[in-house]
Structures are given as structure tokens and as C-alpha cells.
Symmetry: C2
Subunit: 453 residues, 2 copies
């Protein structure tokens, strides 16, 4: 029996198992769900054992356990894949906005509605089913596989990096498979090959020692909120380019091939505009919207705070003003260098009369994979077979910190194959996963192992 | 016996009475002090009767009562003065910052420390003692006097305007005396002849329909916080002048005499800088700090809010951003016109990709009194006699809405003679009033009536 036949024959069974998985409210952020979260880990460990994995265990952390399981029966010299995923889910709140119970799987229009359905229980579990399909039909796999499934992804993976370091020997691998992203469009299999990096800064402007009466002092005292607005305004020019000296020095230009590839995707700017509900799109001149999101660095204010922000009028001349400003970075920008030149430039814009402090809160490198080599080739062929369409290579404008953690720890390429879909409400009420994608995703992963043989 | 002798002989008695007054925690903002606030009104009414006023009554409002009392024994054709003040006080919190109990009068270094001591119980009560001095020594006054003392000044005088309208006949007057301001410097009697007006605006910028992920959308969506910063930054030019077209058209230029008068005051910019604790002063080029605060219009951000303002990093591309922006106005600007040209200009600065809404929250005219005529002359001579120094004419950068209310209702000039002092902590812990000013203030007001005779 082929792996595809196996997966199709067991379609309902595998769906029922996923129903059981999403019924467990493994909300990592909430202490009231601590036992549920552990129960999800134990449930998953049991399913790993049933699937034929060995050395299955729960690794205790200061938070929720990491579930490990492996199959190491591949021929000598065969590569080792880590499959990373997470069994924890976002809180379901606001509950009143759910059309069906968040932890009671409900099928409507070919979609499985449940918290965690697509993020990440469904996308993770299909990997286990793909491995199981090989072990049950062929008794073997062409590669060694190690599942690393954490229960703290939705709370920032506070224990994962330390765990990977401490277990570097056991987890050494040639590739990391992650399905925790989306396809570019329904029916269009997609491999994510780029993520942007980040430099997240906080700018604090201090003027007078205390809040003043804007009547008694306004006109003679430099207002830190006005000063902050002037600083922020000077970070872009009229063409939407970032004005920090040296900011673009290391930015890899989009090649003609890359631009053509992006232009070939089924995408309209009007569609994006409607999706976000803004009167118009904007951004850096000379680039399309997808290019700007995926391959151009950006600078966005994430937060502004100063003075009185309640209802009505209060005549305060604020003593301080704060902006959170994050820059999304692209290859080959160095986030530490960006933090430094941002700080220097903002300081240079500070007017007399205020003191400006700049702090780097969080940063990380961009990531870009050349989609070349046998693993990407195998994944592409498998996706084409499972979905009847050649996959597209896409990027994401955001960051997935764990990709960088694996790269740093193992130097292993990450293969990001998403089976989610736009509009899936991953962190919102009425999260759903396409049942067809769950099935085809398992088939695609199983076929990828076949292609690797 | 002269009124001065009377006031000096009764100095301790009058101080003890003020002690009793400030012991009543008439905090108008707090419902738990509702009975205390009424008690203060009744206490004051009793003292009015003892002082020789007639028709003393508490006028009920939807909030705290207004205390009325009058003396109408002046010769036919004599002018009528309204003495306005308030018996309510600010909340005392934060209590832990008080060096002595806020409602237990304590004398240190010639200062009476208590909530309400200077704002406004002491400054109000000295007016009653001045009137009483005349009635007890001469049995008469050269003018009719009506005391209008409200209990809601610290909560925005919500009932006063309606009360004045409804009692316009009874309250018709030739001047309004208010002591609720400060002297320019210790020992330097001061008459306040100018207040700035105000146009308080709220600017709201809406971009996408909901908050977006700054990674997934940053670069293609116009960020409303960045857009707001650009708008605010464009409201001033490099010389600190406001760029709104037409903004300065009606601004009355400072005359050479006015500039000379301001320059003659005992003031240093370095002293102001130290007072506010900023690294430097700032503002419109070509004017000194006092000129900028008193006689030049200004534009200050009073509040800024957008996106995530908590601790740490959150990668939100905010859907909206808000700024509260108030302009202080000077003669002869029209606040309604300023509201309109501000709105038009801000709208003209809105970039594509966002929707900008501008709302006028609160506005009022500037006020400027030519310090001429018999009332100002009498007040000046009286202050010189009581303090041994010629009074100065000063302005305030802020607004006192009640002045405008009286002007509108009665067309009466306001005579603002403050007996507070810089640093008196009127709305802060450790509020105090100079006991010497309390005494000399009563003498000055009594002498003013003498001068008017």
C-alpha cells in the first residue's frame, strides 16, 4: 500500500485523533490550564509511541514540558530531520466571539473550527501521521526523524533555546521541518524561504522634571511630545525611505529573478488594501507591496505615549514622551549595527531642551534560504504531487525566532511548509484549519520522505 | 480706629478662623466629602452673617451649594463689586507626601500649610475680613458688595454659569474681584491683567481597520502613528513658529511699552529653567520666555496615544493614533476661527492611507484688561500702601474660565489680585499660604475700599 493510500484509508481516524487533540485546552499562558497543557503533552507522547517512534519522553522545564520522540532506523549516513512544532495554544478569549465552542471541534464548510486547529496542532500532527504512514506501510523511512514539540511557543519559548543547547548532541540534524505558517492562497502549496529580522527600540524623551501646566509654561518649555513627533517624522523621507545614515548599506537588492517570482504570485494590491481596510496602501517608493513587506526593511511606530490620554481635555505639558519603534530587517542587515545607527541618528535629532534615551528591546537577524538542494527539491516535488500544483516560494514579513535558534544551534536549514490559509484566525476567535489541507499536508510530507529516498 | 489697625488687632482671631475653615475637608471631587463640603458652605455663611453681610444664603445646585452674601448700604449711584471665590479644595492625595496633615493647619516658617490654604480659602476669606473691617470700624463701605462663593471650582464650575444667568439681575455689577492667583515674587504685589485663551483639539488618525502584525504588513500599510508624528511635526517651523496658515493674523503685537514692562520684572530665564528642571528652555524665536508664555500663542501636545505602550516589545502596527493638541491664544485671536484653521490644516497634512478626524474639545477667548480707570488706580494705591511697594501688572499663560463667564454675563472688568506665591503647591501636597500675605492681603483690600471712597 502506498503512503498516500494509507493516509486516505485512515482519513477519518486521523481527523478524529486531531479532534481529541484540540479538545485539550492546552493554553500555555494560563496557569489554570497547567494540567491541561501537561495532558496534551502526554496525549501526544502516547500517539508518538503508537506511531512507532522510540525514546518518547516528556522533558521537564521550568514551564511546560517538551515532548521528544524519534525514529533512527535510517541507513547509515542518511540525514536526520528535526520536526519542530508546538502543542500549546493561544488563549481562546474573547469567548463570546466564537461561533462554536473553542475546545469542541466543529466542522463547517470543510473547515475544522477549534482553538489550536491550525496553530499548531493540526499542522504538527500531520507530520506524525506522515511518518506513521511510512512506518506502517514500508516499516522504514529514508531519513532519521526527531520530533521536538514544545508547550511554550505561545509564551515566547522561554525554555527552548536552553534545551537545544543542553541537548545539542542528541538533536544534531541536517534540516528542521516546521509547519506553522500559511499557504499563499488556497490550493497553492507554498514554501517559506524568507523571514525579516528585527530591531525593536524604545525612544524616551524627557523634558521638564515633572508634568507642567501647559498654560503656565507653554511657549517657554520644549514639549517632549512635540519633540518626539519631530524625531519620528524625520526617520522617513517623502519617498517613504528610512533616513538613518547607512541604514540601506547592507540591504541585499532584490534580483530581477526574485522580483519576477514575486510578481508572478496571485496577488493584487487592491486585495491587500481591502483585507486591511485602509483607504490606501503606502510605503517605500519604487517597490510593490509584497516586495516592501518581504524584502525591504521598514520602520514602524508600535506605540506612542505621552501626557494625558483619557477622555476630554487636560492641559498638561508632559514631562516625557515615549515611542516604541521597530525596524524589520532584511538580508544582510545586522540588527546590532541597526540598533547602533538608529540610536546615534535619533540622538542627533534631539533638540535642545530635552534629553533623549534610546534602548534596544529586542532584535534578531533576517533569514533567507536559497530554495536549492535535495531537500527543497524533494519538498517541491512532493507538494506538487499532493496538491496538483507546483509550489511557490514565498516570504514572510515577520520573524519566527525559533528558525534562527535552530540555525544558530545546528546550522541546519529550516524547511517551512505551511498548511494554514489566509484568514485562518490563528490568534483570534474562530480559528480554523482546512480539513483538505490537513489531509493533503500529511500526504505531501509523506511524499517528501518518499522523494528523499 | 483705622481698618488697618482693626485688622492688625484681630490678626490672631482671623488666622484662627482660617484654621477652622481649612480644617473642613471640602473636597468637591469626592462624594465621601459631600457633607464636609456642605459644612464648609454653612460655616462660611455663618461667618458672612457675623461680618455684617445680609441676605446670606446657600443656593442649592445639582452639586455643591453656592454661598451668597451681600452688603448694599452704599450711597445711591455707588458701584457694586462682586467678590468671587471658592470654598472647595483639591483632593489631598497623595497623602504620604504631606509633611503635616493636609486638613490640620500647621505653621512652619511663616507659612500656613493646609489643603485649601491658598486655593482658595485664605485668599477668599481675607476679602470677608476686609469688608468686616470697614463695617466694624466705619459702619459702611463706599461700594456695594456681593460675595459669590462656589463649591465646585475644582471640578470645573459646572453650575456657575447657569446660576449667573438665572440671577443676572441680582448679580449685576461694575467689577469682579478675584483673589485666586499668585504674586509675581515674594513681597511684590501683582495685578493680573492678561490670561491666554485656548483651543483644545483632538486629532485622531485611523489607518487599517484593526491592529495588524507589524511584520506581516509593515511596509505596505501606512502606519497611523508615524502619520500622526509627521502631522504634529509640521505644525511648527524650525523657528518655533506655528505653521497653520492665518494663525498669527489676529495676534496683537506686543507694544514697546509692554515689552519694556515685562523686561522690568524681576525674572531670569535661568531661574525658570531651574524651576522646571529641563536642560534648556525653548520656544518661538525673537521673544523672551515671559513674552512667549504671556503674550504669544503656543501649540502644545497634551497627550499622545497609539498602539502598545506597556513594558517590552509588541509588534503591532496600530490601527489608530491620537494626539491631544492645545493652542493657547492671545488677543485678538478668535478661538472658533483657530479651531477651524487648525482642522483644515491638519486635514491638509493627512497622507493617503489614513483618515484624519479633528475635534474641538474645549475653547475660550484670551482676556486682557487695560489696567486703567479708578478701580485699578485704587487697587494699585492700596497694594502699594499694604506692601510698601508699587504693584506690577502681570499676565498668566493659562486661562481662568470664570473671568470670561463674568465678562460675558455682566461686561464687568475682573480685578485679579493674587496673594499666593510661586511654589505654593496649590494643587500638590504641602500647599501653603504666606501668613504675612494673608494679613497684608486683607489690609490691601480694605485699603482699596478706602481708596475708592
Amino acid at each position: 500500500m502506498s503512503v498516500t493510500d494509507y493516509l486516505r484509508q485512515n482519513r477519518q481516524k486521523h481527523l478524529d485523533e486531531l479532534f481529541d487533540f484540540v479538545r485539550i485546552p492546552s493554553v500555555s499562558a494560563k496557569s489554570e490550564h497547567r494540567d491541561d497543557t501537561r495532558r496534551a503533552a502526554e496525549w501526544l507522547a502516547d500517539r508518538m509511541r503508537e506511531a512507532g517512534l522510540t525514546a518518547v519522553e516528556l522533558i521537564a522545564t521550568t514551564g511546560h514540558p517538551i515532548v521528544l520522540g524519534e525514529w533512527r532506523g535510517a541507513p547509515a549516513g542518511a540525514p536526520t530531520f528535526v520536526v519542530y512544532g508546538h502543542y500549546d495554544v493561544q488563549p481562546a478569549e474573547p469567548l463570546e466571539e466564537w461561533k462554536s465552542e473553542p475546545f469542541e471541534p466543529t466542522v463547517r464548510d470543510g473547515r475544522l473550527y477549534a482553538r489550536g486547529s491550525v496553530d499548531d496542532k493540526g499542522q504538527l500532527y500531520l507530520h506524525l501521521k506522515a511518518v506513521q504512514a511510512h512506518l506502517e506501510t514500508n516499516g522504514t523511512l529514508p531519513v532519521n526523524v526527531v520530533f521536538v514539540v514544545e508547550g511554550e511557543e505561545e509564551v515566547g519559548s522561554p525554555n527552548l533555546e536552553r534545551f537545544l543547547e543542553a541537548n545539542a548532541e542528541r538533536l544534531r540534524c541536517d534540516a528542521v521541518m516546521i509547519s506553522d505558517t500559511t499557504m499563499f492562497a488556497p490550493g497553492l502549496p507554498s514554501i517559506t524561504i524568507g523571514l525579516r529580522g528585527m530591531a525593536y527600540m524604545e525612544v524616551r524623551v524627557q523634558g521638564p522634571a515633572v508634568d507642567l501646566h501647559s498654560g503656565a509654561y507653554g511657549g517657554a518649555v520644549v514639549n517632549p511630545a512635540n519633540a518626539l513627533a519631530r524625531i519620528v517624522a524625520q526617520l522617513h523621507d517623502a519617498d517613504g525611505r528610512i533616513t538613518i545614515p547607512g541604514f540601506y548599506d547592507r540591504v541585499a537588492a532584490l534580483t530581477d529573478a526574485e522580483r519576477a517570482q514575486i510578481a508572478g504570485l496571485p496577488f493584487t494590491e487592491e486585495g491587500l488594501r481591502e483585507e486591511v481596510g485602509a483607504p490606501a496602501l503606502g510605503g517605500e517608493k519604487g517597490f510593490g507591496a509584497l516586495e516592501r513587506i518581504w524584502a525591504r526593511p521598514t520602520l514602524d511606530v508600535n506605540g506612542l505615549l505621552s501626557g494625558y490620554t483619557g477622555e476630554g481635555a487636560k492641559t498638561v505639558l508632559p514631562s516625557k514622551a515615549m515611542a516604541k519603534v521597530s525596524m524589520r530587517l532584511v538580508p544582510d542587515q545586522d540588527h546590532r549595527e541597526v540598533e547602533r545607527i538608529f540610536t546615534d541618528f535619533v540622538q542627533s535629532l534631539a533638540p535642545a531642551g530635552v534629553t533623549v534615551t534610546v534602548e534596544a528591546l529586542h532584535g534578531g537577524a533576517a533569514w533567507y534560504a536559497q530554495p536549492e538542494g535535495p531537500i527543497f527539491d524533494a519538498a517541491s516535488r512532493a507538494l506538487a504531487r499532493a496538491f496538483g500544483k507546483e509550489p511557490v516560494f514565498i516570504r514572510e514579513g515577520g520573524s519566527i525566532p525559533i528558525v534562527e535558534v535552530f540555525r544558530k544551534q545546528f546550522g541546519a536549514p529550516a524547511v517551512l511548509i505551511g498548511f494554514g490559509l489566509p484568514g485562518e484566525n490563528a490568534h483570534a476567535p474562530n480559528e480554523w484549519m482546512s480539513i483538505d489541507n490537513y489531509q493533503r499536508g500529511a500526504e505531501a510530507i509523506a511524499l517528501m520522505y518518499e522523494e528523499l529516498a
